[in-house]
Amino acid sequence: MAQFREDLAYVRRIVEDSRAAMRIDMLPLLVWGGLTVIGVTLAYAFDSVDSPWLWAVLVGVAWLYTARRASSGRAEARLFAHRVLGTTWFAVLTSMTLIGFVGAFSGVLPTQAITPVLASLFGVGYLASAILIDRRALAWLAASWWVGSVALFFLPGGLRLLVFGLLVAALLMVPALLMHRGTRSR
């Protein structure tokens, strides 16, 4: 009977330990954030490179990296929740690309509305992540993105892109970097 008890305790321990050992691949989000910051910096440093083509190249590079990362199957094991998480972020980034490019090029969306809308979509991604991986800190990040979105709606045009870049650095890159380092040191 002692053997059966040990087996059940062993099973419980494995379930707890395996959940703790799961890794979340933060590198694609870091790349997206990094390229956005580069785009904002270039746009402010050189007026001549502030064009939709700059963003088309940067977003294209980000998508290529994301696709390559996904096809390489880096994750050693995935919880079902992580698969849903990946799909959620894929949906968020697809929506952002559509709004940023199709919306702007078609002229249906005014360009000044794009960064506030993108910020609000980041809020959606972070809130879904908070629920799926049970991290309350991410819900605060979602709230911060929404507050930032409201602020971006009211900011003057020249400042809007700069503040969006700062939001990306503070609310996307820093948390993603911390989570990436956390999973590596485990």
Partner: protein, 103 residues
């Protein structure tokens, strides 16, 4: 008469600690690499490989092989049959322990 608490009903494939560990790990994930299972369980490549072959042969685990950056990658997922076997095994273990507690 079939006894609901008969230890002989325990699945002989799952009496092994390594195979029980593998099945439990696979029950918590959608899919897992061989290296993930090996690192989590602490088994050697050869030992784990032999146990995986038995689980695949029994239809408890589904295996898929592919190449990632020119290296072969083997991953596993629990089959429906495997999940059912694991659930039955754990339920029987629990009932045996509960019966022992109440006696």
């Amino acid at each position: 008469m079939k006894r609901s608490h008969d230890y002989r009903q325990l699945d002989p494939l799952l009496v092994s600690r390594i195979r029980l560990a593998v099945m439990t790990l696979l029950a918590t994930v959608a899919r897992a690499d061989f290296s993930f299972l090996r690192d989590q369980i602490g088994a050697s490549d050869g030992n784990l490989g032999a146990h995986m072959q038995r689980l695949v042969a029994a239809g408890y685990v589904e295996e898929s092989k592919r190449f990632i950056e020119r290296k072969q990658n083997t991953s596993y997922r629990l089959s429906r049959r495997g999940r059912s076997a694991l659930e039955s095994h754990l339920a029987l273990l629990r009932s045996l322990v509960e019966r022992d507690d109440s006696s």
